[in-house]
Amino acid sequence: MDRIAALVLSELTLILRNRTLLTSVLIVPLALGVFLTFSQIDSPTYVVAMQVVFALGMGVYVGGTQTLVARRQTRVLKRFRTSGISDGGLLVGTVGPAAVLALGQLVLFGLFDVVAGLPAPGAPLALPLAVLGGLALVTTAALATAIVTPSAERAQITTLPLFFVVVASAVIVAVVPADGWPDLLALLPGGAIGALSRIAYGAPWTPYALVSLVVWPVLFGWLAARNFRWDARLAAV
């Protein structure tokens, strides 16, 4: 744990030193979240779902993919694998800081929402579940997307499709009435975040949200475990 903590602290320092990363991981999601709080939108499920999906999607998915690819292409991952840190610890230490910042932003958004007079959720436990499930989704998706991303700059492009799917699914499921086939949209990546936001504000529990919460991280995690590259050099077969 000491090694992971040391790496997390070091990566946090680097985020603060790198303006591009600081903007995508912290400033843009923070600004969007605060804007949503004070936008006078009268749908709390929409506001909460957007805040969760932007903090996790931009901060952890896009930022995490950028960091993983940058560390791989500059052979930092390879060098660190020669130290005492485990492979799992190395990944946690590399993506962890973006996750810590995203969780910090979500705590701030919660406080702002209370101050702005957003109604309190009736089933508040659904929100931490949305955040944890969303975190599992974006972290494993970052690992999987890093496989097909040749450079940190290209991460801005390779993350776009899934980022839009996650945002769109979360928003649509959060605002479309849960009845009949639209319920199936919760099965899309990010759909569970929208569904759980709605559940937090009184909608009935849907099994699709729970299935989506588990299936996508398992799928992306499996892809990453099979194909993740630690080094810019080709891997032998």
């Binding site: 000491d2 090694r3 040391a6 790496l7 070091s10 320092t13 680097l14 030193r17 790198n18 560390r71 500059t74 052979r75 930092v76 390879k78 060098r79 660190f80 694998r81 020669t82 130290s83 005492g84 840190i85 485990s86 630690w230 080094d231 050099r233 080709l234 891997a235 032998a236 077969v237």
Partner: protein, 333 residues
């Protein structure tokens, strides 16, 4: 003195072509517990391309082993298998008694690695890099000691991205020798270094050896292998062309002598002239040179530019490349 084709046992006095390659590796070394690295029949494949094609290596503990070769010869791939970073498609590998393919975690606690390039976060300072390394490493050491040892004290607060190439390689070496590991693997440790930095790196490698550590390094520099290594192997196109101690390798190769003959003088039977220069390769330098000098004395021939020298690593290295080029040309034809 009759030039003979390559291959087969050669009696003393037999002259052979300078481009001959002894294909059988002269691998020696103790096995078992005294062996740091043991490789048998290593093969590594990238898709349809086979980068390493049946390599045998043995590095006794406490020795410096240099792997020479051209770009793309398979040196780095071989090292990566020893480090546990590449899968092998065939063969057996034992490093400090462990299989790097399945026991990398146990191995890395006992091994220090210098990558061929990169591996640093450029936004961290030198001091931050070593402090972070200290927290991640298994073996304890002090950043200050290494800053001083590798002449980086005055650069400790400089970001790694602003270091010169030589300073980065020194920082790289500092992390590789961190905590004085049993085995240090260095991939081209002095490439791009100025003579002063190269000297410091050589000193560090010799210190490791004096401390009983085993060092495996790759290099393009023949003089580096000659200066540092107890054992040398030359790799070419995925195979070991030659391997053994420097003495064994040099002894397996013909020595040579050359002289310029005056105009109108015919050389001894079977020896060709290059212009007016006579060049002879021989496995018995003393005997053939004596015979040649006697021949010149009998005819009153005055030899200018007379030179005699044993085979050098450079001769062997170039002969391996030339042989391969000749073979390729023949195959293409």
């Amino acid at each position: 003195m009759t030039p003979t084709p390559t291959g087969g046992p050669r009696p003393p006095g037999t002259v052979v072509a300078m481009t001959e390659t002894v294909s059988e590796p002269a691998v020696t070394g103790a096995g078992g517990r005294d062996t740091a690295v043991r490789v048998r029949g290593l093969r590594v494949r990238y898709g349809t391309f086979e980068a390493v094609r049946g390599v045998d290596l043995e590095v006794p503990r406490g020795e410096v082993f240099a792997l020479l070769g051209t770009n793309g010869a398979g040196k780095t791939t071989t090292l990566e298998v020893l480090e546990g970073f590449q899968r092998r498609s065939g063969g057996e590998v034992s490093v400090l008694g462990l299989d790097p393919g399945t026991q990398r975690a146990a191995l890395r606690a006992r091994m220090g690695i210098q990558l061929q390039e990169g591996g640093f976060v450029e936004e961290l300072t030198v001091r931050e890099t070593l402090e972070l390394w200290g927290k991640l490493a298994v073996r304890p050491d002090r950043p200050d000691r290494l800053l001083e040892r590798f002449d980086l004290v005055h650069r400790r607060d400089v970001r790694v991205g602003a270091l010169s190439g030589g300073e980065k390689r020194r920082l790289d070496l500092a992390t590789a020798v961190w905590g004085s590991p049993e085995l240090v693997v260095l991939d081209e440790p002095t490439t791009g270094l100025d003579p002063g930095s190269r000297r410091r790196t050589w000193d560090a490698i010799q210190e490791l050896q004096e401390g009983g550590r085993t060092v495996v390094l790759t290099t393009h520099y023949l003089e580096e292998a000659e200066a540092l290594a107890d054992r040398v192997a030359i790799m070419h196109e995925g195979r070991l062309a030659v391997s053994g101690t420097l003495e064994q390798i040099l002894a397996s190769r013909p020595a040579g002598f050359s002289a310029t003959l005056p105009d109108g003088v015919t050389p001894p039977d079977g020896v060709a002239l290059d212009g007016r220069t006579l060049r002879v390769s021989t496995t018995d330098l003393q005997r053939d040179l004596t015979a040649f000098l006697a021949w010149a004395a009998e005819r009153g021939v005055r030899l200018s530019d007379l030179r005699a020298a044993p085979a050098s690593l450079a001769d062997i290295y170039h002969s391996i490349r030339t042989d391969s080029d000749t073979r390729s040309t023949r195959e293409e034809a």
